[in-house]
């Protein structure tokens, strides 16, 4: 997989220089590991082992500690994600209003299971727990955008919209 980094250059050394800058920014703060990981993931898209190892070394902690944190929290990923992240809410309000069926339909439409990425690298399918948009249940998000009051019929249309944008 090529570098997903949004720094623009795609060069490995820039990636590490960028991580150095983030770590520098937090150097006087207590408990900064999670904010650092958040920021690095935001730019790189995910946290591969080499990046975890680099952060561990810079912070002076064992790799196992960094990996322990990355694997504990659901928002951190060690795998690259697709261009668009489709996330179906499986919170209670959405579930009783049929989000399970929406998820099934999406799996059919995209031909992948939850946690997987389409072969063209366009979509990653995820399930999440409550976005707090229960008034619009059932909902899904594509990247940051919330789509609410869904029926199974809306699924294909939403996906196609993002395919076209590409």
């Amino acid at each position: 997989m090529s570098c997903q980094c949004k720094c623009g250059s795609g060069r490995e050394e820039d990636k590490f220089a960028f991580i150095d800058r983030i770590i520098e920014q937090y150097k006087n703060q207590k408990g900064s590991m999670i904010p650092i990981l958040h920021q690095v993931q935001q730019v790189l898209g995910y946290l591969p082992e080499e990046v975890q190892a680099y952060i561990a070394e810079k912070m002076g902690v064992p790799l196992s500690e960094v990996y322990g944190i990355v694997s504990f929290y659901a928002l951190f990923s060690t795998q690259p994600k697709g261009k668009h992240r489709v996330s179906v809410c499986l919170g209670t309000a959405c579930y009783v209003r049929g989000s399970g069926k929406i998820l099934e339909e999406l799996q059919k439409e995209l031909g992948i299971k939850v946690g997987e990425t389409t072969k063209d690298g366009l979509f990653t399918l995820e399930a999440c727990r409550c976005l707090g948009a229960c008034g619009l249940a059932p909902v899904l998000t594509v990247d940051e955008h919330v789509h609410g009051r869904l029926t199974t019929k809306d699924v294909a249309e939403i996906i196609n919209k993002y395919k076209d944008v590409q």
Binding site: S32, I34, A93, V96, C128, L136
Partner: protein, 597 residues
């Protein structure tokens, strides 16, 4: 200062933003400018009104006209009719369910009429991105009063007398918690706000942070003064980007005005607030796990005692309160404890915010006095069940709570009553279920959640919830055996008494409460191999009613498993061996000829 003849409030909370309220605002501003009305009519972005189902919501003052589901296409008409000619646009008014009545004014709508808004009193009224609007509503007055007129002990006494209890779930008396931390010895103390709102179906904390962020900052500063802390942390879910952004802005603005930072109000009191983002771990809503997470580690809980009030963040005395709890604090200081204590029931004072969702007509955020009955909430405020189906249960307290059956609809809701009927206040998610919801499936759903979110530190939770989930899954798949119910109960009791933290101790509640009130549904799954609600796929069978089938072949053409066959114009038949029970045929049939049992 500029004066306007009309103020138009448009919601920019998560709900309405998802319904495109941003484009309504930009469209409206443009249209007003085109018509030369921008100096007469002001458009204000506010927080959540609570009626998310009807978004985007627009309220026009001074009349208080309430427009709902406003789209960009309606803007021209609103500007032309309402703002130019003074005529209300009737078709955008709110339509009360079950009636033909259209309600014009905000306060006349049933959904709002029964509410008492304290924690939410600024939500939907002010622009949360402007500190001036908060100050105009007496914001930071409570902090000024505390710093100028009260000793820390007085503040604690005031909160104690008010009877305020923690709104995050536990219901621990807030004043008592503050007192422990006040008395604890330590050179450094901390004030923490728990905004890791993980209960699926609860979104009041998000709405307060999005609609009235300063009320939380002000209350944290008051708490800091009361216990002797000068540093606060807000631990907020990363899934709430709008809330995080508004908090950042609020902190920055408060700093500029000298309402946070050094020497606040010139009274020698310093207080600062930092934001910490969660990273998608439900267990971090548990206070000790939350503190470990702020410290930058895996968010695993630790045994109590020592309690955080004595040894919390980095081993220092710390208080942790929930967002809604803080939102009440400033109002108590301003209006006095007597005012607050005059509302609610004997042991639960004030109001509670509920997130009303599920199979109900009016979904959204409501705030009612403690002691309001579930019936009032579901039928008067909620407008009754969606599609006029039968009410089956209301689920409160999320994965830690329980299901309340129809016979208990008249129970006044407060902390203690809910515990007595096997449910829990939790953070205030209230999800309504109708006859089409299977209670065994719901219990399985919650166990799947807690199983997934169990941090794995203690075996009762890690292994126990796994075993419970296996049993529930088996029952839903029609493979349940009679001993299962007894085993579920034994496991539930063990986990409740042996788990390390609140997550594990309450995880069995959804199973226990459904076993208590809906045991017959479990028995139907186990003994009759039937799912009465028609949810559990393995237990369903689809059949074509010969009398109703017209032989149009639509079902056969839509069956993904090719399980339906027949001759055109004669009744079709489903082959149960091939049927995958997806229900596609039933959805497509125009004659209602397909029956699910």
């Amino acid at each position: 200062m500029e004066f306007y003849r009309s103020h138009v409030l448009v919601c920019t909370g998560t709900g309405c933003t998802s319904s495109n309220s941003r484009s309504v605002i930009s469209g409206l501003r443009k249209e007003l400018a085109d018509k030369g009305l921008e100096k007469e009519i002001q458009v204000i972005e506010t927080g959540c009104f609570g009626f998310c189902n009807l978004g985007p919501i627009m309220v026009v003052y001074p009349e208080g006209v309430f427009y709902c589901r406003v789209s960009q296409d309606d803007i021209q008409e609103i500007v032309e009719e309402h703002f130019t000619k003074g005529r209300v646009v009737q078709r955008l008014l709110y339509h009360e369910p079950n009636t033909t009545v259209k309600t014009q004014e905000f306060n006349d709508i049933e959904f709002f009429k029964h509410q008492k808004r304290i924690a939410l009193s600024n939500c939907g009224i002010i622009n949360p991105e402007k500190i001036e609007e908060y100050i105009a509503r007496d914001g930071y007055f409570a902090l000024a009063k505390v710093l100028h007129e009260m000793k820390p002990e007085d503040v604690i006494e005031e909160i104690k007398k008010s009877g305020l209890r923690g709104r995050g779930g536990g219901g621990f008396p807030t004043g008592m918690k503050w007192n422990f931390a006040h008395k604890a010895q330590g050179d450094q103390k901390y004030v923490v706000c728990n905004a890791d709102e993980g209960d699926p179906g609860a979104f009041m904390d998000r709405s307060v942070l999005e609609g009235d962020p300063h009320s939380v900052l002000e209350a944290m500063a008051i708490a800091g003064y009361a216990i002797g802390a000068n540093q606060g942390y807000i631990y907020v879910r990363a899934e709430y980007p709008i809330a995080v952004e508004r908090l950042r802005l609020a902190i920055e603005q408060a700093h500029k005005m000298g309402l946070l930072g050094k020497n606040i109000f010139g009274m020698g009191f310093d207080f600062d607030v930092d934001i910490r983002l969660g990273a998608g771990a439900f267990v971090c809503g548990e206070e000790t796990a939350l503190l470990t997470s702020i410290e930058g580690k895996r968010g695993e809980p630790r045994p109590r005692p020592p309690f955080p009030a004595n040894s919390g963040l980095w081993g220092k005395p710390t208080i942790i309160n929930n967002v809604e709890t803080y939102a009440n604090v400033t109002r108590i200081i301003r209006n006095g404890w007597e005012w607050f204590a005059s509302m609610g029931t004997e042991k639960s004072k004030g109001t509670k915010v509920f997130a009303l969702a599920g199979k109900i007509k009016n979904t959204g955020l409501i705030e009612v006095p403690m002691g309001t009955t579930l019936r009032t909430i579901v039928y008067d405020i909620g407008g009754g069940i969606l599609n006029d189906k039968k009410f089956k249960a209301a689920q409160t307290g999320g994965p830690s709570g329980g299901c309340i059956p129809a016979e208990l609809l008249d129970t006044p809701i407060d902390y203690d009553n809910l515990i007595a009927i096997g449910a829990m206040m939790g953070s205030g998610g209230l999800i309504v279920m109708d006859e089409d919801t299977c209670m065994v499936d719901i219990a399985r759903f919650f166990l799947e959640f807690t199983q997934d979110e169990s941090c794995g530190k203690c075996p009762p939770c890690r292994i126990g919830t796994k075993r419970m989930l296996e049993i529930l899954t088996r029952i839903c798949e029609g493979k349940g055996v009679p001993e299962d119910l007894e085993n579920l109960e034994t496991l539930a009791k063990t986990i409740k008494s042996a788990a390390l933290c609140g997550l594990g101790q309450t995880a069995p509640n959804p199973v226990l409460s459904t076993l208590r009130y809906f045991r017959h549904e479990y028995e139907a799954h186990i003994y009759d191999k039937k799912c009465p609600a028609g949810v559990c796929k393995s237990l369903l069978s689809y059949k074509i009613n010969e009398d109703k089938c017209r032989g149009c072949s639509l079902c056969a053409r839509n069956c993904p498993a090719k399980a339906i066959s027949g001759k055109v114009k004669e009744p079709f038949v489903i082959d149960p061996e091939k049927c995958i029970k997806c229900g596609a045929c039933m959805e497509k049939c125009k004659f209602g000829a397909i029956e699910r049992k």
